[in-house]
Symmetry: C2
Subunit: 435 residues, 2 copies
């Protein structure tokens, strides 16, 4: 059935959770994929460190090799699923140098060495495909690069890390605390033994850099992404958020803003208050969603599984078919457009609304003092809710919703509040997004 | 700034709500689009029937012409936004014959003459782009054709008609009846003076044919799509649905099923009961959403504005940029893959769950008689709720939820119920989707 097709040799680097599923699907659905690609996709080999390591899926022994370089040099399409920087970077550069197209799910590598890889591809007219690197199985790269190419993206707000969404969602539904849910998530396999990359927002920051680069046609280096994690989020913060009509989500926000009179962008990852009525508020469990606002298209949302071996394999194989079609159709690959090259604004100049929760003495004049400090700091108050706790020595909580203010102004004002004698404790400061 | 780029001549056919926005965006964002396309996009002219007709947007008079053929023959990319079958079909064939790429939002034409257009494009290595034809501004064509090319789509459930979703949503929130809301929707511009195409599901059926063709790599002719509209939906049906945990949505369902032992597909449009917890249940107003289930990727959802001049223009311009990139990169276009060519199953062989509402006499033995008729018809009962109304001459309502049954079996059984002496009236029969 596939005899009529030209054969393309596909090299797979790595046979972990995603790689073994990619190999399995390539072998099982070969005929169907050939019909769609217009080329027979021959899995030429799988390069791994240890040929005898246990795999998630049973695969023919004879495909495995430890000689990645030879495999790469004999292939038309190279799928890199090793992860990390080296040897993934060297492997991809070798593949591109030999004229092969590359498919990768390596967000860490793209966020740090993306421009180097794209330039190497451009030099030989090859392409780097990376649909699986931004939001797992959710098709977001093609919509941003192609479907919205005639539009102007104004803002992206993404839930792009399944582990943190799972943890925050369970904290929300169970009223449980962070450490408790994290431990359970680790037990269930939703979080790694070392959860830092997820929980502290590093993974989301890599994805934010990739999405912002694409959406704003600007190379966004990883260190230009402001990053905060969710380890300081408490059960009571989530409860207070709910009472005020919000849920707390770890968001990757990529925004086109005006700064110093010039068109600029901001890229940031932090836990934020999202109105319960916003589509992102209803993204539960380990799911991901990317909310995109474009000038002409208006609001769009893309929703699905953000991770998982077989889900991510779907995105990888979509890229393999695209690469194969390009091989057959001829022509050079689609390069990355970074021509807009917009300045990236530091977090201090970004404006959002905030919700500040203070523990204060339950005494006359406290609200006036707090209001005065906010006003002096240039932070304008939109709402105040006061709750009183305890009977013998009552303390009060002030939950202050601000109008839009810069991070700089807000941060200085929160410092001033913390030093004030009427404020016992700054309980939390959270940004509000998606209003 | 764009002097370095090769110039591509773009012809626009039609200057209605979408066309005038496309022209305006092309003229305003020319430099930005050139950077993304790698080519300067020159709007060579706008072919219209009446040069002096009023337009939504002010456009340079000298661009207008009534000579579509000359404009087409001098262009690299032709944007067809006339709608309807002729002269759109002839124009597109002329454009493809001359080697131009075509961008169209014409769902009626694609659903009826798609294969003819795609073959004409294939013969010369050109492409037909139609992102705007399936779900307005929502990027769904590229995700189906490219991102999911390595996966197997199992099911698509789409809210692809904004007018009917607007009407059903208002009926749901206001408890109002169909005719009342339709009249108001017409007054507000959400529905046409002749609402037939929207309200009776013709528009949704065209989109279903396009989506199914793409998802299942099978040419799906429009007359193979089973179609029902929403004009028979009443306020009380919506109320009963809500009480049972459902909302009523007009769905385009494209499904891979097994029939007579062979892999087949079903494509159908009808109002269906959707569980309130399903993501599609929360699509409000005139918005659209396409829910896709794929074997490996799992459930995905694409959400956004389904119509509107400037929103649809975003999708059209994305296609124009893609066409321009292909012109610059060289190579042949991506043809439509219809190699799978799966049989399309008639509606009678499709199985779903149903909810049947009957008005019956409030007498002993009625339930037993009804249950007997269902059982004789091969329709198995999952749930029964009985409500009694009136005091002097009480009548009861039986709301019967069935297990999965074929349309054929269901339809014969409903006929038998209607003829039974214990059944006063078959109030409604609705399918349940998305469980």
């Amino acid at each position: 059935m596939t005899a009529e097709y030209r054969r393309l040799r596909v090299a797979l680097l790595g046979a972990g959770a995603v790689g073994s599923q990619v190999a399995s699907l390539l072998l099982r659905h070969g005929d169907e994929l050939a019909d769609r690609a217009g080329a027979a996709l021959e899995l030429a080999g799988i390069a791994v460190r240890d040929v005898d390591a246990p795999r998630d899926v049973e695969l023919p022994k004879e495909l495995f090799t430890t000689d990645a370089d030879s495999l790469i040099l004999g292939s038309d399409i190279v799928i890199e699923l090793i992860g990390g920087i080296e040897p993934a970077r060297a492997n991809i550069l070798l593949a591109l140098g030999s004229g092969a197209d590359v498919v990768t799910a390596n967000k860490a590598l793209l966020a740090t060495h993306g421009p180097e890889l794209f330039e190497a591809a451009d030099r030989v007219g090859a392409s780097v495909y990376y649909e699986a690197a931004a939001a797992g199985a959710i098709p977001i790269i093609r919509p941003l690069r192609d479907s919205l190419a005639g539009d102007r993206v104004v803002r992206i707000m993404g839930i792009v890390n399944g582990t943190t969404n799972y943890i925050l969602d369970r904290m929300d539904t169970e009223g449980a605390d962070f450490a408790e849910v994290l431990a359970d998530a680790q037990r269930l396999g939703y979080a790694e033994a070392d959860p830092t990359a997820d929980v502290e927002g590093y993974d989301a920051a890599q994805k934010a850099a990739i999405l912002a680069s694409l959406a704003f046609h600007t190379a966004v280096p990883l260190d230009a992404v402001h990053r905060e994690g969710i380890s300081s989020i408490t059960a009571s913060m989530i409860e207070e958020a709910r009472a005020a009509g919000f849920v707390i989500k770890l968001l990757a926000v990529c925004e086109r803003i005006e700064a110093n009179g010039a068109e600029s962008i901001s890229v940031r990852v932090y836990p934020a208050l999202v109105p319960q009525s916003h589509p992102l508020a209803n993204v539960h469990g380990a799911n991901n969603a990317v909310f995109v606002e474009a000038e002409a298209a208006g609001p769009l949302m893309f929703y699905g599984a953000g991770a998982g071996g077989v889900q991510t394999a779907s995105a990888v194989l979509g890229d393999v078919v695209s690469a194969a079609r390009r091989h057959i159709a001829g022509g050079v690959g689609v390069g990355e457009s970074t021509r807009a090259n917009l300045p990236i604004v530091p977090i201090g100049h970004v404006t959002t609304r905030y919700q500040i929760t203070l523990q204060v003495a339950d005494a006359a004049g406290v609200l006036a003092t707090v209001a005065g400090i906010l006003s002096d700091g240039g932070v304008s108050v939109a709402t105040v809710v006061q709750t009183v706790e305890g009977e013998s020595e009552p303390t009060a909580r002030l939950i202050i919703g601000t109008h839009r203010a810069t991070e700089e102004a807000l941060s200085a004002t929160v410092d001033a509040l913390a030093e004030s004698s009427v404020v016992e404790r700054v309980v939390s400061v959270l940004r509000v997004e998606g209003e």
